[in-house]
Amino acid sequence: MTPATDHELSPVLRKQDAPLLRVENLSVAFHTRNGLVRAIEEVSFEVPAGKVLGIVGESGSGKSVTALSLLRLIPSEIAEISSGSVWFGGRDLTRLSERELRRIRGREIAMIFQEPMTSLNPIASVGAQLREPMQLHLGMKAAEASRRVEELLDLVGIPQPRKRMTQYPHELSGGMRQRVMIAMALSCEPKLLIADEPTTALDVTTQAQILDLLRSLQSRLGLSIILITHDLGVVAQFADNVQVMYAGRAIEQAAVAEIFRQPAHPYTEGLLKIVADLEAECGRLSSIEGTVPAPHELPPGCAFAPRCPRSDTACTASPPPLSPISPGRRCACVRPVGFPQFRASA
Amino acid sequence: MKRSLFGKRFKIVLGAGIIVAMCLLAALAPYLAPYDPLQQDLLRRLKPPFFMAGGTAKNLLGTDNYGRDLLSRLIFGTQTSIMVGTASMALSCILGAIAGLIAGYKGGRIEQLIMRFADAHMAFPDVLFAIIMAAAFGGSTFNLILVLGISGWMIYARLVFGLVRSLKHRSFVEAAVSYGGGDRYVMSRHLLPQIVPILTVVATLQVAQMILQEAALSFLGLGLPPPAPTWGNILAEGRDRMFGAPWIANCAGIAIILIVFGINMFGNGLREYLDPQAKQR
């Protein structure tokens, strides 16, 4: 194994890369019958320009809520941002008016979702749907927009773009629909693409094609991407940096190569062991016992403590903060795996 | 967030209150009614209610063309209305639910047969059916229930059919089949319990429809023959004297409106209560 260069190791910390997006202490709470319930708590991260940040977590980890909250896409009756800020292009997105935010959505920050069929209008042709944002946001004429749509469809690897433009979403396969969604997301040349489980609903061979496409687009267009996924394999192949989330908190942040070499948080370690065991065909899978606690019954200390093999009394007092453990790495654990010299101060 | 004018609890309580009051009225009719509803007193014809000029406390809501006490007739009419309404609802609900269950679960030829028959029946006018029945068997409470019950089954059949068709693809149905569960077992144990809440709501609202229909048929002379005290009959009698004695038709009309309102309130409240999506609001 070649030693990782400083550039690969810690792009997050390098001062000259002014981050494209910086999230600071973001907390989001849901309105429920039993009052406010925290969905994510004090989440902070950065996305440097031209990099891919993978946010990994299981169901209930808050990874999707994080993604949706960046653009305030959760209706205010359902959830509210209780604290924190989202810095993008010198502005705090949490303080913008709905009108100002609408100019950023789709234009500077675009999103793609897990199930493209629900995001596409079933009764409008692919071409018409793709033209709309360009005519709306960029003030293009219909003919010009049509030309651009053709270019875009070509860009996302759709053969015979002219023919596809006249088709309707139900006439396309799942992979083609996701390509259309990507084309739509790219139509206004955004700087940041948020991809929320973009390949989860797809077959594995199609998933590989879509990931290949996203990767080539990312390098060609210099896009920054936030990739939300539950699949560590996808992160390993696709992301530059990773944030692992558990029960609404970011518990570990690191460069991809680092985290797979030596996970620091016991939860990350447990997940990686399972996947590694699967790949290694070993006899019995290591497993993480128990389940993710529900948001309204979180323990007072570290949310992972009840399932953690390393937990002790220090873990049950208060949730450990996400603290730096080595250059470019942060971990929310009092005794991270493989970093014996580090001990979080309470 | 918009709040509806009435909360669901208020609707249920108000609706249930009206319904319970009406049922008590029907059950205790012989004790509550001041007079025999059929007893004529030709000397006291067309007396107005007590609050109008010429009215007396002797006949609180006045008398009709034959000098019969309207209040008593209304109270006894409640019996017929509630009985006919609930019995015909039950009949059509049972018929329709069974037909819909079988059609939805079995599919194929049986589905075609049942659902096309339902479509055909939808196109067939109820009134014509009522006329045929009345001509063939005469007017009786039993015939009235039969006519109303049979002419209402298609609504339930369609509702249940649609629900069952989506439910039967759920894995628990397949699981039950794989353990050797027969058609009757799967339908009664797994399908019916899922649709009962929705069925209850529709059936409740349907009682109001049936009461209206009973009144309409009696009004047209296809229900119970006069002098039986039903709200429809009272309404029909009042029609001829709409200007001379408006209270006859009005009091029957108000009674019908009141019970239909109560049932609809109750039904809608129940729907909001049982509907999980409405619950979140």
Binding site: E58, S59, S173, G174, G175, M176, D203, V204, T205, T206, Q207, A208, Q209, L211, D212, H230, D231, L232, G233, V234, A236, Q237, F238, F260, G270, L271, L272, I274, V275, A276, D277, L278, E279, E281, C282, R284, L285, S286, S287, I288, E289, T291, V292 | R170, S171, F172, E174, A175, A176, V177, S178, Y179, G180, G181, Y185, R189, H190, P193, Q194
Partner: protein, 322 residues
């Protein structure tokens, strides 16, 4: 292992809505054997007919053609009453733990349902549920709860307990862990392996996830559009895949330790179902090794080495593209 197969599947086919425009050959001439105690995995992408095959085997869907023999009993010749009795020896574990249970039944009545239908008495049922709950890692007090009060992993445990209630010999696991989170997946897989060892169960493990299959299976059958394109023991299949589709599938799995093969073998274009020809190989339209015969003749599943069967005209001759 002994030579007596527990299950023999021969030429199994299912045509949905035959004779119409929408006629679909969902499963086409599928044959395999299984010996007692082994796990055969059926792998494939959506629409490959793997779930239908599992149900055809249990005769939950009536096959259009073919034969299924279970422990010497010809399933196709059974009357519906006999079938109901014989089928108790085979059970099904479902994918979606959310729709697999009647939401209005408690865990106890869910687990006891197969016994109820088999005519067991109430006290026997109660006792067996009491045995089954700890066996699948649930507590006695879970018996009176409803499905929505359980987590996804716990629900799958209930599903497994229900499948075990009648002490079956053979279980069709239809994507049993696909809907679960990784950490919970591992728990359920371990449980399935433990139970297999404890009771000598035979599994037909249906999955789209090659990682899980690689862990749990003894032999693997890869399906593409209704046909088995490759069947081999696990080691052979993962080490020496012969069918171009198998290679595509293997190379597409995102791995946390990227190996050399990843990325290099993505030779095929298009998606499942694109460019299917009537007469030839169903994969021909996407295959980069395609030759003339692939478009005209459908390749049959044929052995190329002990137990390794491939349905490809070029099997044994295809070099991995560099």
């Amino acid at each position: 292992m002994t030579s007596h197969p527990l299950v023999i599947v021969e030429g199994l086919s299912k045509v949905f809505s035959p004779g119409t425009k929408a006629s679909l050959r969902a499963v086409d001439n599928v044959s395999f054997d299984m010996v007692r105690g082994e796990t055969l995995a059926l792998v494939g992408e959506s629409g490959c007919g793997k779930s239908t095959t599992g149900r055809l085997l249990m005769r939950l869907i009536e096959p259009s053609e073919g034969r299924v023999q279970f422990d010497g009993v010809d399933f196709m010749s059974l009357s519906s009453k006999e079938l109901k009795r014989e089928r108790r020896r085979l059970q099904l574990v479902f994918q979606d733990p959310y729709s697999a249970f009647n939401p209005r039944m408690t865990a106890e009545s869910i687990i006891a349902e197969p016994m109820l239908l088999a005519g067991a008495s109430a006290s026997d049922r109660r006792q067996r549920v009491g045995e089954l709950l700890p066996l699948v890692g649930l507590a006695p007090h879970h018996a009176s709860r409803y499905p929505h009060q359980f987590s996804g992993g716990q629900r799958q445990r209930i599903g497994i307990a229900r499948a075990l209630a009648l002490r079956p010999e053979f279980i069709v696991c239809d994507e049993p862990v696909s809907a679960l989170d990784v950490s919970v997946q591992a728990q359920v897989i371990n449980l399935l392996v433990d139970l297999q060892q404890k009771f000598g169960l035979t599994y037909l493990f249906i999955s789209h996830d090659l990682r899980v299959v690689r862990h749990i299976a003894d032999r693997v059958a890869v399906m593409y559009l209704g046909r088995i394109v490759e069947l081999a023991d696990k080691k052979t299949l993962f080490a020496d895949p012969q069918h171009p589709y198998t290679r595509l599938l293997l190379s597409a799995v995102p791995q946390i330790r990227p190996t050399v093969q990843a990325g290099l073998l993505r030779t095929a274009s298009g998606e499942v179902g694109t460019a299917v020809t009537e007469s030839g190989c169903r994969f021909a339209g996407r295959c980069s090794h395609v030759i003339d015969v692939c478009r005209s003749a459908q390749p049959q599943l044929r052995p190329i080495a002990g137990g390794h069967q491939v349905a490809c005209h070029l099997a044994g001759n295809v070099e991995p593209s560099k």
